[in-house]
Symmetry: C2
Subunit: 228 residues, 2 copies
């Protein structure tokens, strides 16, 4: 039997209208919809897509990706995800795996994809709108100027002070519990001016911050900070 | 009379299916479609959108943005573009200004927007798929790993050697005539491994390069180079 194709489908940052036509078409034709799940509550990706199209006839596959930094647990969860997907592909069915934002930027899909590519499965990747582009749009600012670089920086596990001193604009992602340290570092480097943030971009509880004074140490996981 | 709204509409990298649902809706409701034009030939943005929807009933506004680095000429063209758009907005009509890729990344829209925001016009920005995310999708590679930054680097007007030595992944854009120098610098820094490129991503003449050996000094303006 011919094997199915795995589609890595980017669904954008939250607003269901920011899904591309191609992503909608692929979701529509796949019977199996796989979505990352952290074990607590509903899948955000699934909730966004269900606002754009009817998923009631789909087979939903919840892939467990625990919120941990333990490499063994993570590797195990990627292996399990790849195996569940492979089982469906072996039956000749296609699978659309949903990813928030764009699938090539800080997504778990790359790990799942690599395992399936190694086993010669067909994988197709559908790009989407990143949360940082959507946030900059909401802020009505450009992220780049003529000849300056743009740095996309995960706020954990790096030297924040060094990163914030690079020339050009910076986007801070994956901030989570690093927010107090980020605020402190921005102040220390006198970067108060031209600092912006968007929390939960495109979701119901979206909030826009136009200066560092408005920042709050408890800003949530889905916060993007832009330093121009 | 109530003034119209200017929409900065990102249309993605080339594949008409990579336009978002929101962008399609806005293009559909606006009578005036503005598009950057370099004075030679057709507008690429217009050609992409016309594959996705019928534009025959639209008023097309060609905004002249010469391909030059002369700041005075550029400033003049941004001023002219803002004035043409303001005239239409004053008549109460909305304008959708098309932008390749995402409007917050190396687009001319930011300049036009700033001038109209200063004059208190309503501006709404619609994010889109960037050419670098689309290229990484085509290459089936992730642009980031767990805690590493990603640098989006314009290949002109910067110290290439220094930029390529930053930790994390790099995306090179706006390469144009810098390709020979870029290839030379990649070799000099022994970065031959894990170098990829996509030329004209999503367009008919798309070409994928999986290693530096395949690179060609004459690769075109719409080439994205990824260094992992």
């Amino acid at each position: 039997m011919e094997k199915g194709t795995l589609y890595g489908v980017s669904i954008g940052p939250g607003d269901p209208e920011l899904i591309t036509v191609k992503a909608m078409n692929i979701i529509s034709k796949c019977k199996y919809i796989a979505t990352p799940h952290t074990g607590t509550g509903d899948s955000l990706a699934l909730s966004i897509v269900s606002q754009a199209t009817d998923l009631s006839q789909k087979e939903i596959m919840l892939l467990e990706f625990p919120m941990t930094k333990d490499k063994d647990i993570l590797a195990e969860s990627h292996k399990n995800a790849a195996e569940s997907i492979a089982k469906v592909l072996d039956e000749g069915e296609d699978v659309a795996m949903l990813n928030l934002g764009d699938v090539t930027i800080f997504s778990t899909f790359a790990y799942t994809m690599d395992q399936l590519l190694e086993k010669d499965y067909d994988v197709e990747v559908i790009p989407g709108v990143t949360s940082f582009c959507a946030s900059a749009s909401k802020l009505r600012i450009g992220l780049t100027t003529m000849n300056d670089p743009l740095h996309i920086i995960p706020a954990t596990g790096i030297d924040l002070k060094e990163a914030l001193q690079m020339p050009g604009s910076k986007v801070l992602m994956k901030i989570g519990r690093s927010m107090p340290k980020l605020i402190e570092t921005l102040k220390e480097l006198n970067l108060e001016d031209n600092v912006y943030a968007v929390e939960n971009c495109g979701l119901e509880n979206e909030k826009i911050y136009n200066s560092l004074d408005e920042f709050d140490e408890n800003m949530g996981y889905f916060t993007i900070v832009v330093v121009k």
